[in-house]
Each structure stands twice: as C-alpha cells, then as structure tokens.
Symmetry: C2
Subunit: 215 residues, 2 copies
Amino acid sequence: MVLATPVGCFKSVIEEVGPFLKKGAIVTDVGSVKGRLAREMEGLMPEGVTFVGGHPIAGSDRSGIDAATENLFVGAKCIITPTEHTPEEAVRKVTELWTAIGAEVCFLSPEEHDLVFALVSHLPHLIAYTLVNTVSDVNPEYIHYAGKGFKDTTRVALSSPELWRDICFKNKENLLDLVQRFQESLTSMVDALKRNDSEELESLFEKAQRLRGKL
Amino acid sequence: MVLATPVGCFKSVIEEVGPFLKKGAIVTDVGSVKGRLAREMEGLMPEGVTFVGGHPIAGSDRSGIDAATENLFVGAKCIITPTEHTPEEAVRKVTELWTAIGAEVCFLSPEEHDLVFALVSHLPHLIAYTLVNTVSDVNPEYIHYAGKGFKDTTRVALSSPELWRDICFKNKENLLDLVQRFQESLTSMVDALKRNDSEELESLFEKAQRLRGKL
C-alpha cells in the first residue's frame, strides 16, 4: 500500500485501514517528511506488516488528479529510508517498485532525510511564501511588475498551504534550526552591504553562484 | 545611445563618451536601478543631450553575447522613468523605441521604480543567493538532493555576482528596508510554527498563494 495523503493524515489512515491489511503486506509512502513520523509509522504496523519510508523527488506546485502525468517519476530521485528494523526483502521490493517506473533510488536514514529536505525543500518553500508576503505587506499591486526572476523564485508559493503546513510542523525542529542558519547567512550579506564591503558581497554571491552551478 | 553595462559603470562611461555626443542626442539605459543614479545621470549630460531612464523587465541569469535572443523584449514590460526635467519629446522617442521591438511601456518615477524593483527583483536575488549559501554552510553535498522546487527558487543565484553587487549597492537603502520587512514576515511564520499555531501558519501560506496566483 502506498500512502499519498498529506503527511498529517498518515497516522489516522493507518489506524483505519491497518486491521484490513494482509500479513506480509508492505506499506510505503510518498511523503516529504520521514524522521520521527517514519519511526511512528513503523510502530503502528499490525503484526506481519512492514513499513518502508519512501520519498520521490518529483511533482510540482499543482495537486489533484488533473495534475497527473504518466512520466512524473522518470529520471527522478526517490529516497528510501529504511531503519535498523526494516527487513532487507521489503526494501528490495519497494526499490523495485520505484526503479520499474523510472526513478533512481537512494538511501538515507529517516533523520538525515529530514535534515536534507528541510534544507533543499522545506526552507525554500517557507522562504518563497515569505517573499510573496513581503510584497503583500509593502504593496500588493507591485506584484504586477514581477518578471521571470520573481516568478521562478516564488513558484513554489503556489503549493497547497494545507500540505506545506503539515510538512513544516512534522519537520519543525530541522526547519527552525535552518531558518536560523539562513538568517545568519542573510545577515552576513546585509553587513557587507551596510559597511560598503563590495568585495565581500561579491564573494558571497560568487560562492552561491558556484554551488548552484553544480545543479 | 543605450547604456547596457553594469550600472556601476554608467558614470564613467558617460564621462568618457559624453564629449562626443551630438546636441539633441538622447541617452537611455537598460539598468535595473534608477533613483539617485538616474538623477545623477541627468546632471552629467552635456548641454543639449537628454537622459531618459529605461528598464526592460526581460533577460535571464545568463549574460554575454551567447545569451542573445531576437525576441527578448516581445511582450516584456519596459519601465521608463522620466523626471520633472525630462522633455516630453525625449520620453516619446524612447517609448517608440521600446514599443517598436514589442515591449509594453509603463512609467514610474525613478524613486518608485527603485522601491518596486528592490521588492520584486533585488530582494529575491539576495534571498536566492542566501538560500544557496545556507546549503553551502550546512553541507554542500546536500545540493544533489535538490528537486525542481529548489532549482526554480534559486535559479537567479546563477546571475552575475558583479552585476548584482552593483545593483545592491546602488539600491542599498530600499534593499536594507525590505530585508527588514522580509525578516518581520519570516518571523511571523516562525512564531506560528514555534507556538504550534497551525491555523495561523496555513493562513500565512494561503495569503502568499493567493497573491502569487495573480501572476
């Protein structure tokens, strides 16, 4: 069974359908958060049923059946997050499922998964929502002057508020830590700007350009 | 004459070529900053030469001749920033230049222009560079887990560090004010997260989603 609801509903879905699962069944998911949630899910499985966390890095700001595309997972990374309790056989089956539809599978612990995706996904979503709200607070009419740069930078702010609210709460500790790191990095740019340190500001921009260029 | 160097070079270019400009010539530009710079440029014009600020909202993170495309300005907005000293005839000629290559012209004062573009362009660039540097500071290897969301959110961090350093310094006051507004907006999300106020966080995301949806 593949759980594909917002992560905030996983536990209630399993409480409801758990009693009807056959022995030997494998439950996996496509949720953006693992960590404590994946450990809890493991504990909620009925006897003989195995949980293997999964997270395909695919999709867009769109949701619902109209956003479906048959090639969504071709060439996409899919992270599988086994714990020390996950049977190898179950990991193998879930891996086969993803490679069969064209995804490239990697493995991370549930905890490292959550740190990585707080950094490359959850923080950018929070920041994109914040950028749009800054426009809203200054003068919402100014949004009409936005060009392609603003549109790309804030595209993920079109994503489902309910879905992303759930993700933020489920990965709260990592996200709060990383907001802190983000603010320190922003402060170093602001300080360079304030003291007219043109070399330092350019070198901070270069550092970012270099790493972004690896993608 | 159309100035299309990084904005930090405008003054030295005019000092060099100014003496060779014919009476009746119009100097315009495609720079991302106006404000005080546009007023200074106006003052630097030799007698009989008029400055009219211009800013086409087009282009990408790429620069140089290899990035040229013949339809770059078709359907793009172009902001013209006349001051109280700019002759109507010069504004008309620059407007015609832009409409002839397919752009849609709007007018803003140099000062409002700089506030608007600090908000919808310069701040997003600073934030995109900051997001990438946050990854760099935590663990640069994690960049390889980035999906489409991260790529879009940080695409503008591929932009020329030299160009954007100049823009940030030329529009420093607006940018510093807006970083402050951005931080306030981020703090309101972080506070909702910290006090587990799920309704408030969802409503902040919804506010952003609604405004972004207008683009």
